[in-house]
């Protein structure tokens, strides 16, 4: 699942933010997203978040919309994975019972 999500994030960077495909293909999961590396600015990170929210049906609260979230493609991927798992846990056990 993690690899699929990472792949999808990279696709969104190209399709939604028009990041150069060769830059993405050459980037490792540790490549920074903000400022350096992929080189997004703060507004583009918000646009990426909006795309992720629509794509995966998650919501990123303001408190978690921080620089750390965009430390790398890997960190963003981990966040989405965690958000999806949490959503799955909530939907399976809506009242918290096992």
């Amino acid at each position: 699942m993690k690899l699929e999500i990472e792949k999808r994030i990279k696709q969104l960077l190209v399709s939604e933010l028009k990041v150069n495909r060769t830059v993405i293909d050459a980037s490792s999961p540790n490549a920074p997203l903000l400022g350096r590396g992929i080189g997004l600015d703060s507004v583009e990170t918000m646009a990426l978040v909006v795309s992720l929210e629509e794509e995966f049906g998650i919501y990123v609260p303001d408190a978690q919309l921080t620089v750390d979230l965009f430390a790398s493609i890997g960190s963003l991927t981990d966040y989405v994975v965690d958000a999806l798992l949490e959503r799955t846990n909530v939907s399976v056990n809506p009242d918290g019972r096992s």
Binding site: N20, L34, D41, V43, T45, D62, T66
Partner: protein, 342 residues
């Protein structure tokens, strides 16, 4: 077209987006004492009904500052001589005028009581049609102003007089163009003073804090979604992504965030300049829209838009060099061979 004015009780709202990390700060510094004196003088001048007396006061403050700031004068003269083809005498006059211009701005544009003074000449606004056309598209407007050129508070007053209510964006340490000592006094006394001079003329002030939060981007997008007008500095050094641009013969940095915001939201970017004309009247000039390409190489699109603004700003500075306040800090970045030319 007359625009819907924000009700008076909603004017001057202040929002701080994101929470700063707590830092240890001094209570007061020597520089704060200087600023307290400046605030006191502005407050006294605000109470004077006679504009001519206020002018004398501004001249006196400019003269004192000119005499005391020898190092800054020297650096300005040096930078001007490297940038503009003027004689030594002309350059010295420009530097002297720059002190005059600054203190006139302080004593004539800033009014902590928000007074619209009787007898004060109503400012001129050129380019209103660009704002009207942009607002008719319904995607909002981004007004790009310079942190270091022209009269920012006077500009907001003139916009307000013409029915334009803006959301003003500042970095969290903004205090009317002065350096922030980050002391307790600066945060709780000096900054609120300068804020009170601007609040009456804007819809709200949004402070971008230096925390790690990026939530402010949602706030800005929300304002534009409701066809609002946001006013932001184009040449401030904030921003997570800045690019080097050849500017006034050196390399300076400009951030790309607002270009991305325009691309993604469909908002129109308009450059705003507020100049002091001969005779003392302030004039706001809103230039035609900055062209923002949405197709093509992303980096190149961002750079092209920023270069358009830098080029405009450079032309205004060359025409009104005494109204540019950053000669002494111009080009902090080393010149790079691949930097983009304005």
């Amino acid at each position: 077209m007359r625009f819907q004015k924000v009700p008076a009780e909603d004017l001057g709202q202040v929002h701080a987006v994101a929470i700063s990390r707590p830092t240890r700060a001094k209570f007061i510094t020597l520089y704060d004492l200087y600023l307290i004196l400046v605030c006191g003088l502005i407050k006294i001048a605000d109470q004077w009904p006679f504009l001519r007396l206020r002018g004398v006061f501004a001249h006196a403050a400019a003269f004192a500052a000119f005499q005391l700031a020898r190092r800054r004068r020297r650096i300005r003269e040096q930078r001007l001589s490297q940038t503009l083809q003027f004689t030594g005498r002309q350059i010295r006059n420009i530097v002297k005028q720059s002190f005059d211009d600054f203190w006139h701005d302080m004593f004539f544009s800033l009014s902590p009581s928000g007074n619209r003074r009787a007898g004060q000449v109503r400012g001129e606004l050129q380019g209103l049609e660009h704002v009207q056309e942009a607002l008719e598209k319904g995607r909002g407007v981004i007004l790009w102003e310079s942190s270091f050129f022209g009269r920012r508070v006077a500009a907001k007053r003139i916009l307000d007089e013409n029915g334009l209510s803006v959301s003003q964006i500042h970095n969290e340490y903004h205090i009317g163009g002065f350096r922030n000592s980050h002391s307790w006094i600066s945060k709780h006394l000096i900054q609120p003073f300068f804020e009170s001079c601007e609040k009456p003329f804007v819809r709200e002030i949004i402070y971008l804090t230096r925390s790690d939060s990026l939530a402010f981007t949602r706030v800005l997008a929300e304002r534009l979604k409701h066809n609002g007008i946001i006013c932001v500095s184009a040449d401030g050094r904030g921003g997570h992504k800045i690019i080097p641009i050849d500017f006034l013969g050196r390399t300076d940095s400009f951030s790309t965030g607002m270009v991305s915001l325009a691309k993604l939201s469909g908002a129109t970017i308009l450059s705003l300049f507020c100049i002091q004309q001969n005779g003392g009247q302030a004039c706001v000039i809103i230039e035609p829209p900055i062209r923002v390409d949405t197709e093509g190489d992303r980096e190149r699109c961002l750079e092209k838009a920023v270069v358009q603004y830098a080029s405009l700003l450079e032309s205004y500075i060359k025409k009104y060099p005494e109204q540019y306040r950053n000669w002494h800090q111009l080009g902090e970045l080393e010149a790079r061979p691949h930097s983009i030319s304005a």
